[in-house]
């Protein structure tokens, strides 16, 4: 149809330029054409419902009639009427098309967005920036929790695993960023004190480490000696670590014994009275298990000064099994 319409002007131009094609039409036949056009249009408007009905071909018939009529058209005045009829037919066609889809909804993002805003609890009366002329940004005030509200609804449609969080807060799941640290260290070491500080620190750490190691080995030596002397009597953990003369040394002993346990040289278990006993582990039997992948067990023992006193009295400890070095 549109091609026909666009050709109207061309045709007329041609007609004017080329005399051979100029067809002389008398006013009578032109009036006749105009009359027929008007009749068709009137018919269309009066029988709207009939035209729109999906069972009738009236709209097509009318268009065909108009098409035949157009063969006779040579002047702009009649052509304008033809265009008018087309506009009318197009509007009817559009209405007919949307009626066809009445049982089937077409997705419209704009109305979806409006409905989403309603769901998110938009307050359409309040509008803080009322001079916003942007058409896309409709009027209304959206609350701070709007997206969370929508998200909470959205979660029902997902089989998403819930994320957990740490009960004591700030621990992050990703490892800390190392890069910054090394940069800073480099810079400071470049600036000054390259010689003195690292040397001192290293030495201190080493000596401290060595002292702990030595003490652990010394205590392990005692444990093994006691055990060798009397392999059948289990050694009470309390008897072993408690120094009746010093609470501080008792705590230190427990600290050092913890290394022995961790490294798998000894184990602590409960005897028939549910009291802890300690015994060394024969190293050869477990040596084929690589140390890195050994199962590790942890326990926490708390000992207050009061506890210490009570244990000393109850177990009648008079001498420390680990003599102070």
């Amino acid at each position: 149809m549109s091609s026909r319409r666009s050709s109207i002007d061309e045709e007329h131009e041609e007609n004017h330029m080329d005399g051979d094609f100029e067809v002389e039409q008398d006013d009578g036949s032109r009036r006749q054409i105009r009359h027929q056009y008007r009749e068709l249009m009137q018919n269309m408007q009066q029988n709207r419902d009939d035209m729109l009905s999906s069972r009738s071909n009236k709209l097509t018939d009318t268009l065909q009639a108009a098409n035949q009529l157009f063969a006779e058209v040579f002047k702009p005045r009649e052509a304008a009427l033809d265009a008018q009829l087309l506009v009318l037919a197009t509007n009817l066609g559009k209405e007919k098309a949307s009626q066809l889809q009445a049982d089937m909804t077409v997705f419209d993002p704009t109305s979806f967005a409006e409905d989403l805003l309603s769901f998110m609890g938009i307050n359409r009366l309040e509008n803080p920036d009322s001079d916003s002329e942007d058409e896309a940004c409709a009027k209304g005030y959206l609350g701070a929790d709007a997206w969370k509200k929508l998200g909470t609804e959205a979660e029902k449609y997902f089989k998403r695993t819930p994320t957990f969080h740490f009960m004591l807060g700030s621990f992050k799941t990703e490892p800390p960023i190392v890069r910054q640290k090394t940069d800073r260290q480099k810079r400071t070491s470049k600036v000054a004190e390259k010689k003195v500080m690292p040397a001192q620190l290293k030495k201190m750490e080493e000596s401290h480490q060595e002292a702990t190691e030595k003490e652990v080995e010394r205590i392990l030596g005692f444990l093994q000696t006691y055990f060798r002397e009397d392999p059948d009597t289990p050694i009470s953990f309390f008897d072993f670590v408690i120094d009746p003369n010093s609470f501080a040394r008792t705590v230190e002993n427990m600290f050092h014994v913890s290394f022995i346990i961790r490294d798998g040289f000894a184990r602590i278990k409960l005897d028939q009275d549910k009291l802890p006993v300690i015994e060394p582990i024969n190293q050869e039997s477990g040596s084929q298990v690589d140390i890195d992948n050994q199962p590790r067990y942890q326990g926490v023992i708390s000992l207050s000064h009061q506890d210490w006193k009570e244990i000393v009295d109850t177990f009648e400890i008079t001498e420390p099994m680990i003599p102070p070095s």
Binding site: D103, M104, F112, L116, G151, K156, F158, R160, T161, P162
Partner: protein, 266 residues
């Protein structure tokens, strides 16, 4: 070494489990050995060590899932499995079972070529379960809107069209958003890395235009039908009134069902 005395019973299994010829074994071609070889490898490690490794693997998968980034097999091997590589398939199988039985999480391989995994919740959400509401909740809201637009527009959507709708929802790619920060980055980078969305240049466009599709995680975590239900609830319409989309959504279970039963073939 056939029977175990201690260790976590839920994680421990007999080696005979392998004979089921599970799909994981089939998929992991490079890790697959003959049954006897696999059994021999299993016997190289003590049952305690194996169940310890499985525990580590479960923990690793749970932690990695926090950011909703997909988990690569290469990373699993590098960071957890290490020298147990020879029994990787069995470790993964047991970790998968533990995740399902203890947490109700399904370990899904979303890329069988690159071996990329994600976790899916198999448990139904209860009403008023009071799960924590945070920024991720808001982000899921935004994601759901985008997934809805893509699906309703016929499974692809032009980037410009997405932003046009989002602007109506006060979300502008050029502005910092209170909940989402850099929205453009969230949508075109984070959601894409998480495998919720696919973001590709439309071929033969200059200046380049981009379009969105659903990513594999979206397909696993939700479905066309679910998203259609969401849209229908928002627009207060019957899902069946969107005839084309409803038909499209119905096709999904049929095409997925045979895949699940014959997945060993892939």
């Amino acid at each position: 070494m056939t029977q175990r005395r201690r260790g976590r019973p839920s994680l421990s299994q007999n080696t005979s489990r392998l004979q089921g010829g599970d799909m994981d074994m089939e998929e992991d071609v490079s890790f697959t050995q003959t049954l006897t070889q696999a059994q021999r490898n299993l016997e190289k490690h003590s049952p305690e060590q194996i169940s310890l490794k499985v525990g580590e693997l479960v923990q690793y998968l749970l932690i990695r899932d926090q950011k909703k980034l997909p988990i690569k097999r290469a990373d699993i091997v590098k960071n957890v499995v290490k020298e147990y590589k020879d029994i990787y398939a069995e470790l993964l199988l047991r970790a998968k079972k533990a995740l399902l039985e203890v947490f109700g999480f399904q370990l899904e391989e979303i890329d069988t070529k690159a071996h990329i995994y994600i976790l899916i919740n198999t448990l139904e959400r209860g009403e008023g379960d009071d799960l924590k509401v945070n920024d991720n909740t808001a982000k899921l809201g935004l994601l759901t809107v985008i997934l809805s637009l893509i699906f309703m527009k016929g499974n692809t959507a032009k980037e410009v069209a997405i932003w046009e709708t989002l602007r109506r929802l006060r979300v502008d790619p050029g502005e910092r958003h209170e909940d989402f920060g850099d929205v453009k980055k969230l949508v075109t980078d984070e959601f894409v890395k998480q495998k919720y969305l696919e973001y590709n240049k439309v071929p033969h466009t200059d200046p380049p235009e981009y379009e969105f599709r659903w990513g594999p995680r979206a397909i696993k975590e939700t479905s066309k039908l679910k998203i259609l239900e969401f849209v229908s609830k928002i627009q207060q319409k019957d899902p069946k009134s969107w005839v084309t989309q409803y038909r499209d959504a119905q096709e999904i279970p049929r095409s997925q069902a045979p895949r699940a039963s014959t997945s060993a073939r892939s």
